[in-house]
Homo-oligomer: 162 residues x 2
């Protein structure tokens, strides 16, 4: 099985969206994906891209991707965040994920960042073990906090009424 | 006590660095800050800024800041990440942190993002309670994973030798 790794292009937008949806199902959040095809096309492949992808291709079919964008650490400076690493279900267990992961790491090193980072579900032990074995650290002390638009509006309304 | 909130400028770079260092001490990682003054000047206030800050000023002295940059969610599209929210120790407990927080949220809403996010130390209960009370969600299921440059190099070297 010959796997080709390459940078994603605009023509890959639909398969990128489908991989995002497939990962959301695995993460038990199938309804959380609010992005449309044109969001992917415009945000990823417009004049000012907000993310990049590398994709894995078998027989000219994209079957996996690493989706990432730059971040900034107040300790280390520029970093790259790996938002999604996904291989389509029927192609799992064949080393494609590892190939995407190592290509992502190589790309980040070439780019010159001092750190890469991503998130993992605490119950996803196979993923956690894979990352740890590769030399990454799972930060057990830190938690992610999120606030959505509706809560942001509600919060500002409440403090105005205080 | 009159507090002025404004966007940071290049002239604020030193006080930004000092606030970053003060936060790192609070987080029990005083030696983790590798950034220099020129990193802050170039990365924040050069031709292509990698982050932005809003600062809190009392009597023309900057005593706190919110440090943030854009991210991208494969579920929600563009988001803003609050990397550091810090008020200098002697000015804590006076509502300056809340003022920076609400100004950050207002700025993010004006910018049009559907979500904001940040990290919190699991043992920092006052911060967690403050965020929850404001309407944010602490995601207990997710963990942050990080890999530094030396481990990235080691990983690539090992797989090449496999």
């Amino acid at each position: 099985m010959k796997v080709l790794i390459r940078k994603a292009e605009k023509k890959d937008s639909l398969v990128i969206l489908n991989l995002i949806k497939e990962l959301a199902i695995f993460e038990k959040e199938p309804k959380s994906v609010k992005l449309s095809l044109s969001d992917i096309e415009n945000d990823g492949f417009g004049a000012k891209p907000l993310f990049e992808c590398i994709v894995a291709e078998i027989n000219k079919e994209v079957i996996g991707m690493a989706f990432y964008y730059p971040r900034y650490s107040t300790w280390n400076g520029p970093t790259i965040h790996l938002e999604d690493l996904i291989v389509s279900e029927q192609y799992r267990g064949k080393g494609v994920g590892t190939l995407l992961y190592s290509n992502f790491i190589k790309m980040a090193l070439d780019f010159g960042v001092k750190r890469i980072e991503w998130n993992v579900l605490d119950w996803n032990s196979p993923a956690k073990n894979f990352y740890k074995k590769s030399g990454a650290k799972v930060l057990d002390e830190w938690r992610t906090v999120q606030m959505h638009q509706s809560e942001m509006k509600k919060y500002l309304k409440n403090i105005r009424n205080d």
